[in-house]
């Protein structure tokens, strides 16, 4: 009986082996032949966060990549990540009072179906962006009217001076849509577009832009395929097809890169990157405009002690900022002084955050809290921009223990955390990535100004020392400033935001862009994330 099994196995083995070998050979030959034919195809491994492919409804990091590849805004951002340059508009003029913006469209510009891009398309697109009331509709809040002077001239008037509008009009969400094509498929720009526009589903399988690519197909949770726009009026992209493959795990992304399944991986964290020694993979570590911060809500219920400015400053002084960067991203990050990212208007020569335990203790003693207290820290237990927020919370716990402040860590799912912070909670960890190049979006979100998100959470008008008047005045001044005066105007705002000690930026992590050695033109853009049209396969 003992010899029965081996004989059965031996009888099967040669046949099985032959079948397997044949299959592998045919498969290998077949695949390599097809792969050769697809040399101008670029595969990007990425955890996609798409909420829509409609420019008026989309609002996510992947959406920025998609929209800037398929649609074109009036303006765009140069590779230096700070200069606004022409896109659909070949030139523009701004009135001295910064309320009237005249754009001259490039007459050569045409949509992927060959029809010309006109002023009517611009007016329709921007009015639709406002009226659909999607997440990015706030970009149009300051717009009073849009007038089409002639097919290639559009005049946009703002309600109040808005030096930020040029930056806004370079945001991918303002990409101009072929209005005739989209209208024929359920889109409209009417005031009731929020309910009457039914084109959301159409946009998931069709595109109507003038960008270098068109949408080939989209399978949610699987892949997003771009096809080169053969009617593109600019320099045609080198890649005929770009495929974005849903890859949730950073290690899997790295392995796909190693095996050649992917050409580019976008979310490999610095630790994983350091562990890979493959001569065929290039890692670009680039400073990003994303950042992670901690924030106080002095008016939050459940705070064990009044979170006065002295207490907030004491906590700010107890944080080991450089240590946090080392601890969370292995040193691959930058200090960020204010809640406006480094490199954006108003951030030159700002003082770096300081760590001073003795001074922190003095401030707490002055507030009668020398013996310390326990403070809840609410955060989303997740990884953002390569930072494990749970790890960061533990680092903060260690730092604050030095001044006798005991942090009670309260992790939550992202969805629950988002709901919690609006209660609000006394102390939390948050994160932010820009929608476009411009500092106003940060003041509008983090500024201690009435009705602004963090102004409301911090209790502007209720909390001591936070009346919001000075910041509002500075903000209006910044919006009315000429382009060349913006740096100074936003710097004053940044200094005030630092002084508030409500938002304490902790880490601005570097971005790891990994790609195969034969891939060129990979760069990070503040407006568009990853400009696909610039990627080449050598």
């Amino acid at each position: 009986m003992v010899d029965v099994l081996p004989s059965v196995f031996l009888r099967l083995k040669p046949k099985f082996t032959r079948v397997l070998l044949a299959a592998a050979l045919v498969g290998t030959l077949g695949i390599s032949a097809e792969a050769k034919a697809a040399d101008d195809t670029i595969v990007v491994a990425r955890a996609m966060d798409i909420n829509s492919l409609d420019p008026a409804r989309a609002y996510c990091d992947t959406c920025q990549i998609y929209l800037s590849a398929v649609y074109q805004p009036l303006l765009t951002l140069a590779a230096d990540n700070k200069t606004i340059i022409p896109s659909l508009a070949e030139k523009w003029e701004v009135s001295p009072d910064v309320t009237t913006f005249t754009f001259n469209l490039n007459p050569a510009a045409k949509f992927s179906d060959g029809s010309p891009v006109t002023g009517d398309d611009v007016k329709w697109t921007l009015e639709r962006l406002k009226n659909v009331k999607g997440s990015a509709s706030y970009l149009m809040d300051s717009v009073k009217s849009i007038e089409v002077k002639d097919p290639h001239t559009v005049v946009i008037t703002t309600k109040t001076p808005n030096s930020e509008l040029l930056g806004i009009l370079s945001a991918p969400y303002t990409g101009i849509i072929n209005s005739k094509l989209a209208s024929a498929n359920g889109a409209n720009a009417a005031e009731d577009a929020a309910t009457s526009d039914t084109s959301d589903t159409w946009f998931l399988s069709n595109s109507a832009g003038s960008g270098p690519f068109t949408l080939e197909s989209y399978k949610a949770d699987d892949n997003l395929r771009f096809k080169r726009n053969d009617n593109y009026w600019g320099t045609k992209p080198a890649a005929a097809v770009v495929i974005m493959k849903q890859t949730a795990d950073a290690v899997t992304q790295a392995q796909m890169l190693g095996s050649g399944t992917a050409d580019i991986a976008m979310q490999i964290d610095p630790d994983t990157a350091k562990s890979i020694q493959d001569p065929n993979i290039v890692f670009q570590t680039i400073p990003s405009f994303n950042f992670v911060y901690v924030a106080f809500s002095p008016v939050a219920e459940g705070s064990p002690v009044p979170l006065t400015r002295d207490v907030r400053e004491a906590i700010a002084l107890a944080i080991d900022y450089k240590g946090a960067i080392d601890f969370t991203v292995g040193g691959e990050g930058k200090l960020q002084p204010a809640a406006i990212p480094n490199g954006f208007p108003g951030t030159s020569n700002l003082p770096d955050p300081e760590t001073n335990i003795e001074k922190a203790k003095e401030l707490l003693a002055k507030a009668g809290l020398a013996d310390g207290f326990t403070l809840d820290l609410t955060f989303a237990a997740m990884n953002v921009y390569g930072i494990d927020l749970s790890l960061l919370a533990q680092k903060l716990e260690q730092d604050l223990a030095k001044i006798n402040v005991k942090l009670a860590l309260k992790p939550a799912t992202f969805n629950v955390w988002v709901t919690d912070i609006d209660k609000p909670v006394p102390f939390t960890i948050g994160f932010f990535a820009p929608d476009y190049f411009g500092s106003a979006q940060y003041v509008q979100y983090f500024g201690m100004i009435p009705n602004m998100p963090w102004g409301t959470r911090a209790g502007v008008g209720k909390a001591e020392g936070l009346d919001g008047k000075e910041e509002l005045e500075l903000f209006n001044k910044a919006l009315a400033a000429a382009i060349e005066q913006q740096e100074e105007a936003y710097r004053a705002l940044a200094m005030k935001m630092i002084d508030d000690k409500i938002i304490l930026p902790l880490v601005s992590p570097n971005l790891v862009l990994a790609h195969r050695k034969d891939i060129g033109g990979v760069r990070y853009s503040a407006c568009c994330n990853l400009p696909l049209a610039e990627i080449v396969k050598n």
Partner: protein, 339 residues
């Protein structure tokens, strides 16, 4: 028999309604905000955007109102539109279910075949080195975390030894196959593309191995125990006494009888594999229903959560019905009990 089936079929819609009601209520009272997946977290601070999104997605209505609308639509076969993918849930499920089933069926074949082989080896070489080795291999599959194992085999067989393709169902750079059944192995043959068939089969190897190995232990243990038990029976001694060869005694007499309990275990492992597929799908970028369910839960995507539960519940009810029918068909004594 027919009466039993009809009775079960009659009760099924009511059971489904119970599942729908429970899921609907539980989902609505879960802490969190479904608008996050519709408009994003940042936009939640914009009251105008929030109001428009609530209206558009019916979230401005009361929970009972939403429930009545949902059930009415459900009766027409409409499972609603996913908050997250913005596509009909039915279409989402139709797209993902075959991917998971294909993976799970292949994993089950791997698990059953390897479990059977190792179980037989264990029983035959009872308490000898081969038995220990076979049990160790089977046990390893049950002990190793799927997540870790998945990453390891990907690293070994796609990066270090590039013998097999990486994650996904097909080579992304190759011509895409339009789904007909959603089962890639079938669809590639339907379009007469042998290369694509081989590609799809090769893509299945690693995820099916990882997932299948996780149930090898359960199957092999059951086969081993049953086989050892059967080999002690009188009819085996009789077969040997009659001069049947060792192979014949094993295959025709012992194994056939030992397989019955193992088959029952396979039914249970199917549910286990469906659950285990969630991790495998994440590692191998496999667009199946497991990852869809996880993302739906994470995003509080009510229509998708309820849709997945309905499909799961329906599957469970049908499986139970088929099991009862099969038992009744196999064993006349069970016919009364099934009623």
């Amino acid at each position: 028999m027919l009466e039993v089936v009809l009775r079960r079929l009659f009760v099924m819609p009511f059971l489904l309604l119970g599942i729908v009601t429970a899921t609907f209520i539980l989902a609505q009272f879960t802490k969190g905000n479904p608008l996050v997946s519709i408009i994003g977290a940042k936009a939640l601070t914009n009251p105008e955007v929030v109001a428009a999104a609530k209206k558009r997605w019916g979230l401005d209505r009361s929970i009972p109102e939403r429930y009545v609308i949902y059930v009415k639509n459900l009766a027409r076969g409409d499972l609603g539109v996913s908050f997250r993918t913005k596509q009909p849930v039915l279409a989402d499920l139709a797209q993902r279910l075959p991917a998971t089933l294909e993976l799970v069926i292949c994993a089950m074949i791997v698990g059953a075949a390897s479990g059977l082989l190792l179980g037989v080896i264990s029983a035959q070489f009872h308490d000898r080195a081969a038995d220990h080795a076979a049990r160790f291999i089977a046990l390893l599959g049950s002990c190793l975390p799927i997540y870790w194992l998945g990453l390891l085999v990907l690293f070994l067989f796609t990066v270090q030894l590039p013998w097999l393709p990486g994650p996904g169902r097909l080579d992304l750079r190759a011509e895409q196959i339009e789904p007909v059944t959603g089962f890639m192995l079938v669809d590639t043959l339907l379009v007469d593309s042998w290369n694509a068939f081989v590609d799809a089969a090769l893509h299945l190897v690693l995820p099916a191995l990882v997932l299948g190995w996780s149930v090898t232990g359960i199957v092999s243990r059951m086969v081993r125990a049953s086989l050892l038990d059967v080999m002690k029976q009188d009819f085996i001694t009789m077969a040997r006494a009659k001069g049947a060869s060792a192979t014949r005694v094993l295959v025709h007499h012992a194994l056939r009888n030992a397989l019955i309990p193992a088959l029952t275990i396979l039914g249970f492992t199917f549910a286990y594999l469906i659950t285990g597929s969630v991790l495998v799908e994440a590692i191998f970028s496999w667009p199946g229903i497991g990852s869809y369910a996880v993302e739906a839960a994470r995003a509080l995507d009510y229509p998708a959560i309820t849709g997945v539960t309905i499909i799961g519940g329906l599957g469970f009810l049908i499986a139970n019905l088929l099991t009862d029918i099969a038992y009744a068909a196999a064993d006349p004594r069970m016919r009364g009990a099934a009623a």
